[in-house]
Symmetry: C2
DNA sequence: CCACGATACGGAGGGTCCCTCCGTTTAGCA
DNA sequence: TGCTAAACGGAGGGACCCTCCGTATCGTGG
């Protein structure tokens, strides 16, 4: 028998090209404004091929935004490692977090919406974010800078909510920063 | 000539029945889960009739959630009129605000998304909300309880973001309250 | 009371989605 | 080179929002 286990070369090629094109399109136009037909046509494959590689549009989206999610942990470490006051470091993390979430239009709301849902295609990304926030909380809490009842899920939701609004209304960084300052002060207080 | 200016009796009847049914359906199932066909069928009218009265789905939604929006000002007054500390009154207002926004599934995000957009069908509702928040800010600021750089738009976005997350993830009131406490403390601080 | 015209009704169908199904083509081992 | 498992491609199904237009109804002037 001729069991060919690894993916065929053309399949690998197509999968990568589709993911690249999708990343580009989603980033430019946002989730809703990109149709699966458009991705297939731009990538030069049939719609059937697209769906063979990515069973739903959300799965494609998940693959398209995969790369940058993986750098989130590094960003958390970097924000925390700096020398400044807890408030400054927390704000730096928040800003990095919002910058990540808003890098692809529509991602902030989609990911924040999926926060409690284990069945979502974004569940893995949510866990990454939760862990990063937990690390930030642990670090600042060990310095006694945080109020006691803050948890990672709550923080993800608060900052994710801000990110979603910033993304949707295309707010300037200043507007985002002033909203994040409110959240940071609220979390540090008490 | 026979110019019949006022609406015909059947038209008035249908308009009201459609709005009633739509309010009920939107409230039960949320914006996305209700189709225009479903509204028409449930109301017992043709799809053409529905669109004669409400030119888009968003216009229908706007009409469906009209009634409760108008009571928001009363809620603001009531929250402010109580005797408690500024923090308690602010929190009471936030909770009332979130309760309003989450009363119809999907409304929080849609309205908060429309905050800067004058062309949105929800523009009028946004103005109502902004004014209510402005009144709250003015009252508390006159007591010196607020940080200086808080504005109504920012507050609408912050609390609207929390409301959207609460609505989408169907969080318990406790979870909402703890997030709102963070925002309130952040706004009062400094 | 009736006839007639302005008004409103209803649903077929257009355009756009996401996604499925299946006949056709291709890769790659023996 | 022949053959089979794997991959491809696109027609089309079903759902959606919305438009268009022939048909039915309302309500007034005669």
């Amino acid at each position: 028998m001729k069991v060919v286990n690894p993916l065929r070369a053309d399949a690998v090629r197509n999968r990568e090209r589709i993911a690249d094109i999708a990343r580009q399109l989603f980033r430019e136009k946002g989730y809703d404004a990109v149709s699966m037909d458009e991705v297939a046509k731009t990538a030069g494959v049939g719609i059937g091929t697209l769906y063979r590689h990515f069973p739903t549009k959300e799965a494609l989206y998940d693959a398209a935004i995969q790369a940058w999610v993986e750098t989130v942990n590094a960003a958390a470490e970097k924000s925390l490692a700096s020398e400044g006051a807890p408030r400054d470091r927390l704000l730096a993390w928040f800003e990095a977090y919002v910058e990540f979430l808003t890098r692809h239009k529509g991602a902030a709301w989609r990911i924040t919406s999926a926060l409690g849902d284990d069945d979502s295609p974004f569940a893995a990304k949510c866990r990454t974010y939760l862990n990063a926030n937990q690390r930030v909380i642990d670090t600042l809490a060990s310095e006694g800078a945080l109020r006691a009842d803050v948890d990672a899920m709550q923080l993800c939701r608060l900052v994710g909510g801000v990110a979603a609004v910033v993304d949707n209304s295309e707010l300037a960084p200043d507007a985002a920063r002033s909203m994040l300052a409110v959240v940071a002060d609220g979390v540090l207080a008490g």
